[in-house]
Amino acid sequence: MGLFILRRFGVMLLTALCLTFVVFFLTNLYPNLEKLAKTQGNQRMSDEQVEAWLGNRGYLQPTLVKYGQWLGVVPGFTKTLDDGTFVGTCTRPGSTEENTPRYCGVLQGNWGYSTVFKDEVGTIVGKRLGNTGYLMFWVLVLMVPSALIVGVLAGMREGSALDRSLSTFSIITTATPEYVSGVIFIAIFTSSTVGLKWFKGTATQAMDNPTFENFFLPVLTIALYGMGYIARMTRASMTEVMTAQYIRTARLKGVSFPNIVMKHALRNALIAPFTVIMLQFPWLLNGVVIVETLFNYKGFGWALVQAAGNNDIQLLLAISVVSVFVVLVTQLISDIGYVYLNPRIRIS
C-alpha cells in the first residue's frame, strides 16, 4: 500500500511538471508575450519597444531557462535599466538589488507576482481558494446527500413510478449545463419581469456576508449538474445490489423492505458512488469557473478567467498546479477509498 501511494505521488509529480511546462510553453509564445507587454506597458508600443520591454524583463530567454527560473533551479533574471530601475523575475515594485533573492521559484516557496492583480500569486490563490472552498463545501453538502437519496430511492424498486420520475429528473439535470440552468434560475427567481425576486442575481456580497438569499442560487446551479450523474450511478449500483442473492434471502426470511434497504443493501450500494463523487471533482472545478463568472463571485474560477484573459503567466501556472493537484489527489483518494470500502479488491 505504501509503495502504491509512493508510486502514485511520483506519477502525480511528473504529471504536474509536464502540465506546467505545457502551460508555460503556451503562455510564453511570442504573440502572448506581446499582448502582456502591451497591457503592462503601453497599448501603442511599436514592435521594437515591445521587444525591448520583453528583453529587459527577461521574457526573451530560452523557454527552458525561464521554466527553470520559475521552478527555482536556475538563478532569477535581473537587470538594471538605463533609468536606474532594477527589474527582474525576482523583483517586486520597490525592491532593490540588495534585498532581491538569487533564486525565486516554486521550490523556494515563491509562486511569483501577478501582473493583473499586482500582488503575490501565493496570497491571491490562497484568498480565492478560500472563497471557492466555501462555495464547494455548500455544493457538496447539497449535492451528495440529495444525489444519494434520489439514486437509492430510484434504484430500490426498478421500474416503479418513483424510479421513472426520479430517473427523468436526473436525466434532465445532467442535460442542463451550468450556464443554462444558471440563466434560467436568474430569469425565474431574480428578474423584475417574472417578479418572484426570491434571490439575488449576483453573489458578489456573498464573499463577505453569505446569506441564503445571495448564496443559494450559485450553490444550486453547480450542485444540480453534478447531481444527476451521481444519482444515476447510485441508481445503477442500487439496482444491481437489489437483485443480488443475499437480498433475496433476506426477503424470503421475512425482513421488512425498509430494513432490507437500510441494513442490507445500502452499504454495498454506496461503494460505486463514492468513486464517482471523487472523480466528479474535476468537473465541479469547471462548473465553479462558469458559475463564478455568471454570478460574479470572486473565487478561484474567476481568478482563472482573469489570469487567462490577461495572460498572467505566473498566476495561471499556480492555478494549473492547484487544479492538477485537486484532480490527482481526488483520483488517489477514490482508488484508496475503493479498496477500503470493497474488501474484495486488493491493490497488488
Binding site: A161, L162, S165, I171, A175, V180, T293, V305, V327
Partner: protein, 487 residues
C-alpha cells in the same frame, strides 16, 4: 402592424392547456405517492385455474396519468396544427410553428418511414420500440432539421446579423417600425441588445452546433479508437505511455485548456493548425489500416481500393487543413499546402480552432473507454480463435474487437455529442473562438445574461434550445442502451 400576442385568436385553448397540465402534474404526484402506499393490484384465481389481476387503485392512477398526458400532447399538437394553418393570426406560437413547417414535415416523413420499415433497420429500427428513445430521437432530429433548413434560409425570418433600428430589446411579437415589402413584419421572439432578431439567431445557432458537434465527436472517436485499441490489446509500455498522455490531458481543467488554445494570440502562432494537421491524420490512418487489414490477402482488390479511398481521404485532409494555399500562415513563416484551385473548401480560422480543441478535449476520454473495452474483449474465445487462425493484430483489433464493442461505443457517441454541444456552448459563453457576432447558442446566452434582470427574451430561447438538444441526445442514448441490452 399590431404587435402579436402569444396565442392570438387561439387563446381559447389556453385555459384548456392549463387544466390539462395541472391534471398531469397532479396525476404524476398521485401516481408516485400511490406506488408507495397503495396495495399491489389484487390477484384473483378463477374457476378454471387461471389467474387474473384487477386494475385496482394503482391502475386507476396509471389511467389518470395516461389520459392527462394524452390530453397535454393533443393540445400541444392542436397549437402547432392551428398555428400552421392560421399563421400570425394565431399569435407568436402560431407564427413560430408556421415558420417551422419544413421541420414538421420532415419529422413526419422520417417517423412514418422509420416506423413502417423498423423491422429491417437493425438497431435504428429497434429504437422505435422504446418511447424514451423515440422522444429523444425526435428532439435531436428537430434540431438537426432546424439547423439544415435554417442554413437554407427556410425558417429564419430575418438576417441574424442585421440590426434594425428601433428594435433594441423589444419584447416578443413586436412589429417592425418600417416593414418593407417582402420582409417579415415581426420580431417573433423579440430583439436583442443590438436590435437583432432573437428567433433567427436561435435557428442559425442550431446550424453551428449541427455542423460541428457530430463531426468533432466522430473525429474524437477516430483518434480514441486508433490509439485505444493498440493500448488495450498490446498493453505494456505503449499502454503506460498513452495512458499517461491521456491522463495528462484529462487533468487539465477544460476551461483552462480552452483559454490556452482558443485565443487570437495562439491562433497567430499556428499551434491549432499543427494540432489540426496531427489530429486529422488519425481518420486516414484508421481507414487505411481498417481496409488493409481486411483485404491484404487479396492484393489485386486491395491496392486499387486503398489508392482510391486514401486518395480521396488525403485530398479531403489537405483541403481541410490548408487555407488559401497555406497549411500554416503566420507572420514569421509559412508552410505551403494545397494550391487554391485544388482546395475544396476553406474553414474559417475561428471554427477550425474550436473544432480542434473540442476534438482534443474529447479524445482522451474516448481513448480510455476503448482501451477498457479492448482489455475486456481481448480475453474472449473468438479473439483466441482469430489468433490461432493466424490473423494479424490489426485485423483482430479492428474486425474482431471493435465490432463487438460497438454497443457501448454507440451509446457513448450519443452522450458525447451532447457533451460536445455543452462544450461548444461553454466556449461561446466565455467568448472564445467564434466571432462575437456569431449566432451560436453559447455566445447568445452570454450576451443575453447581462441584461437578464430586465429582459428575459434574448437569453432564454438559446438556453432552452441547448437544453432540449442535449436532453434529446441523453434520452436517445438511454433508449439505445435499453434496446441494445435486449439483444
Amino acid at each position: 402592424m399590431e404587435p402579436l400576442t402569444w396565442t392570438g385568436s387561439i387563446a381559447f385553448l389556453n385555459p384548456l392547456l392549463m387544466i390539462a397540465i395541472a391534471a398531469l402534474l397532479l396525476s404524476i404526484v398521485i401516481w408516485i405517492v400511490g406506488s408507495i402506499f397503495l396495495p399491489e393490484a389484487p390477484l384473483s384465481i378463477n374457476m378454471d385455474g387461471t389467474v387474473s389481476s384487477g386494475s385496482g387503485l394503482r391502475g386507476l392512477t396509471q389511467n389518470a396519468l395516461r389520459f392527462s398526458f394524452i390530453a397535454c400532447v393533443a393540445l400541444a399538437l392542436a397549437y402547432i396544427v392551428l398555428g400552421i394553418v392560421m399563421g400570425t393570426s394565431a399569435g407568436i406560437v402560431g407564427a413560430v410553428s408556421q415558420q417551422f413547417l419544413p421541420v414538421w414535415l420532415s419529422l413526419i416523413i422520417l417517423y412514418a418511414m422509420s416506423i413502417a420499415f423498423k423491422r429491417r433497420l437493425g438497431l435504428y429500427g429497434k429504437l422505435f420500440d422504446s418511447p424514451i428513445g423515440m422522444i429523444g430521437f425526435g428532439l435531436v432530429m428537430f434540431w438537426v432539421f432546424t439547423g439544415i433548413f435554417g442554413a437554407l434560409d427556410l425558417i429564419v425570418t430575418h438576417d441574424p446579423l442585421v440590426q434594425l433600428s428601433g428594435m433594441k430589446n423589444k419584447v416578443p411579437g413586436t412589429p417592425l417600425p418600417t416593414a418593407e415589402e417582402g420582409e417579415y413584419a415581426w420580431y417573433l421572439l423579440g430583439g436583442d441588445n443590438l436590435a437583432r432578431d432573437v428567433f433567427s439567431r436561435m435557428v442559425k445557432g442550431a446550424w453551428i452546433v449541427v455542423q460541428i458537434a457530430p463531426l468533432a465527436t466522430l473525429f474524437a472517436f477516430m483518434v480514441g479508437i486508433t490509439l485505444g485499441l493498440p493500448a488495450g490489446y498490446y498493453g505494456g509500455r505503449l499502454d503506460t505511455f498513452l495512458s499517461f498522455l491521456a491522463n495528462l490531458i484529462l487533468a487539465f481543467p477544460v476551461i483552462l485548456l480552452f483559454y490556452l488554445l482558443v485565443t487570437p494570440e495562439i491562433v497567430a502562432t499556428g499551434v491549432p493548425n499543427y494540432m489540426a494537421a496531427v489530429l486529422f491524420l488519425f481518420p486516414i490512418l484508421f481507414i487505411g489500416v481498417l481496409l488493409n487489414s481486411r483485404y491484404y490477402t487479396r492484393p489485386k482488390f486491395r491496392t486499387p481500393l486503398l489508392i482510391g479511398v486514401l486518395g480521396v481521404a488525403i485530398w479531403l485532409y489537405l483541403s481541410l487543413i490548408s487555407t488559401s494555399g497555406f497549411i500554416i500562415n503566420t507572420d514569421s513563416y509559412r508552410i505551403w499546402g494545397l494550391p487554391t484551385y485544388l482546395d475544396l473548401f476553406d474553414i474559417p480560422g475561428g471554427i477550425l480552432v474550436v473544432f480542434v480543441s473540442v476534438v482534443f478535449v474529447n479524445s482522451p476520454t474516448v481513448f480510455r473507454i476503448v482501451r477498457g473495452l479492448a482489455l475486456d474483449i481481448k480475453t474472449r474465445d473468438y479473439v483466441a480463435a482469430a489468433q490461432t487462425r493466424g490473423e494479424g493484430p490489426w485485423y483482430i483489433m479492428l474486425w474482431e474487437i471493435l465490432p463487438n464493442a460497438r454497443g457501448p461505443l454507440i451509446v457513448d457517441f450519443c452522450l458525447r455529442i451532447g457533451y460536445t454541444t455543452i462544450l461548444l456552448g461553454t466556449l461561446g459563453f466565455f467568448g472564445l473562438g467564434l466571432p462575437p457576432e456569431s449566432p451560436d447558442w453559447g455566445s447568445t446566452i452570454n450576451e443575453g445574461r447581462k441584461l437578464l434582470s430586465i429582459y428575459l427574451h434574448p437569453a432564454l430561447p438559446p438556453a432552452f434550445a441547448l437544453l432540449s438538444l442535449v436532453l434529446g441526445l441523453n434520452l436517445l442514448a438511454d433508449g439505445l442502451r435499453e434496446e441494445s441490452l435486449k439483444d
